[in-house]
């Protein structure tokens, strides 16, 4: 008699690989439906259920590939990267990694970037809750306190660095326009993704703002940030630039706390 552990391993093996070696003889056969047909309900259901989840999380990638190609790619992903998540909402989190590592798909770097971008949007939608602060809090500070000021950014903020115009593909899809021509940037383009209210937002940032966000995330204080910006622009432009970015971040809901040195 097969023990519970062996039976479950064999059943799961069938779901993933449709190999009935260990499980077929364990299943009751009858005239209405054979053991193989009964197991096939689970095998097909497993793939179809997860493909549907991926179609919903990667809407633009699915449109770009078309139903059949997307389904084939998604099947390969589910096969190679079986879910280890309790929550089905995270099933797509390694799609971009799969596309990078798969010998079949690794040449399609646009698909990989689109997957990265769409997953970042999805993660932002369900990411950690935080309340943004208003720019009025900044105005309340004494001017000599600014140098020691640091900022806590929204926990959903992610900085992506993209080789291709994946963002334009995303926009074209939702605007129901023709796909743009594929572009490869000479330098990586930084794009930030975050949640404001309940919606995922994104925008490109230039190299100075990307650097600023990086050091703010690392906990640097405003005086150090301004000093570092001198590498990107003439000194007289630093203060207006830094203030302009801060204003934008407040408007974007990116700042959730102002911290002053003890």
């Amino acid at each position: 008699m097969t023990d519970l552990a062996t039976l479950q391993q064999s059943f799961q093996h069938y779901l993933r690989h449709q190999d009935g070696a260990g499980i077929l003889t364990e299943i009751v056969n009858d005239a209405a439906l054979s053991a193989q047909q009964r197991l096939a309900v689970y095998h097909e259901g497993y793939y179809l259920r997860l493909i549907e989840i991926l179609e919903n999380d990667f809407v633009v990638l699915a449109r770009l590939l078309g139903e059949e190609s997307f389904s084939q790619m998604a099947r390969a992903y589910i096969h190679d990267f079986p879910s280890q998540y309790r929550n089905i909402q995270y099933v797509g989190c390694r799609l971009s990694e799969f596309l990078a590592r798969s010998p079949v798909y690794h040449e399609h770097s646009l698909w990989r970037e689109l997957a990265t971008f769409e997953w970042a949007l999805e993660e932002a939608r369900i990411g950690e809750q935080a309340t943004s602060v208003s720019i009025a809090q900044l105005a309340e500070l004494a001017p000599d306190a600014w140098g020691e000021l640091s900022f806590v950014l929204h926990p959903t903020l992610k900085v992506l660095r993209l080789h291709h115009n994946a963002v334009e593909y995303y926009q074209a899809s939702y605007a129901e326009q023709a796909w743009p021509e594929l572009l490869t940037h000479t330098e990586l383009q930084a794009c930030i993704v975050w949640r404001k209210q309940f919606a995922a937002h994104y925008r490109y940032v230039n190299s100075a703002e990307a650097w600023m966000l990086g050091v703010v995330l690392a906990g640097e204080r405003f005086a150090q940030i301004c000093a570092g910006l001198c590498d990107f622009m003439p000194e007289e432009e630093v203060a207006p630039y830094a203030l302009g970015r801060l204003q934008q971040w407040f408007a974007d809901g990116l700042i959730t706390r102002l911290c002053l040195a003890e």
């Binding site: 519970l4 391993q9 059943f11 799961q12 299943i27 009751v28 209405a32 939608r125």
Partner: protein, 287 residues
């Protein structure tokens, strides 16, 4: 048994599953629904829209939590992280009760995201009973386990499904969420009489009914939860009410979700059936 509360759970009346497409409608119209059941896993996320609406809607309606990932029958260790998420969610919304399924969802660290049937053996029974006790002790309350639809049965099974479900409930001292549609589906797929199932489940342990739709493929039925309830399932529900009496009832629609008023109309149909059956029973008692 560490901290387990063992209290009489209330009768909640007639509820619906809380689905994101209905959030705004519910808040704007405050429909006359007695309670909502949430899919716990939809809210074990760090933040965002679902949790916001959950809190707002909870202010107006009683709720129960229904999970899909406990994997109570798996030979993998119980997932403590998942249990702590469930406990945190319960602390947040104070549900009337917490349920999951009598099934397994994966082994070796994987999740197949399906409610897979167990073999009904002494070994599986012992295994499940021990785990239900662990979960109940951790959550500090009795849980409800639901019968799943199935498309296979195992050569090694030593019990019928209803015997197994009943034994788990009795031995682990848990409650039962009886899915009327799942009984209908499994009865069709495995050729048993659904009434035999109904009549052999311990009455005092049945705390909730699920009713749902399915897809009939001729040779077998798949429990898709994406169609209206069919007449035969309404009839079986009437039999269940006649046998078990007043049991909190809800419609579980997971896909192809219609506008709220359509589900509400289905719920009224269930309510009418329950009222009619209960009145008939009362008349018979009086006679």
């Amino acid at each position: 048994m560490a901290n387990r509360q063992h209290q009489q759970l209330p009768y909640l009346g007639f509820g619906l599953g809380l689905r994101p497409t209905h959030y705004e409608y519910i808040l704007n119209h405050r429909p006359d629904v007695d309670w909502f059941e949430i899919v716990s896993d939809d809210y074990t996320i760090p933040g965002g829209k679902p949790l916001y609406y959950l809190d707002r809607i909870r202010e107006h309606y009683p709720m129960v939590m229904h999970g899909v990932s406990l994997s109570i029958g798996s030979v993998d260790p119980l997932d403590k992280d998942y249990l702590s998420q469930i406990k945190a969610l319960a602390d947040r919304i104070a549900p009337q009760w917490i349920s999951d399924h009598l099934c397994w969802t994966g082994v070796e660290g994987y999740n197949m995201h399906d409610l897979l049937p167990l073999p009904y053996t002494e070994e599986a029974l012992k295994h499940v009973v021990a785990r239900v006790e662990q979960v109940q002790d951790y959550l500090g309350r009795q849980i409800l386990l639901e019968n799943v639809s199935s498309y296979v049965s195992y050569q090694t099974s030593q019990f019928t499904e209803w015997e197994f479900l009943s034994a788990v409930a009795e031995q682990a001292d848990c409650l039962i969420l009886l899915d009327i549609n799942n009984i209908y589906v499994s009865a069709f797929n495995h050729h048993f009489d659904p009434l035999t199932y109904l009549h052999n489940v311990p009455r005092e342990r049945v705390q909730q009914f699920h009713v749902a739709g399915h897809t009939n493929h001729g040779t077998h039925i798949i429990d898709t939860h994406d169609e209206p309830i069919i007449r035969e399932v309404y009839d079986l529900y009437a039999q269940a009410v006649a046998h078990f009496g007043k049991v909190s009832t809800m419609i579980e629609r997971d896909d192809n979700i219609p506008a709220f008023p359509e589900l509400y109309a289905e719920l009224q149909a269930l309510k009418a059936i329950a009222a009619k059956v209960t009145t008939q029973a009362q008349v018979q008692e009086d006679v």
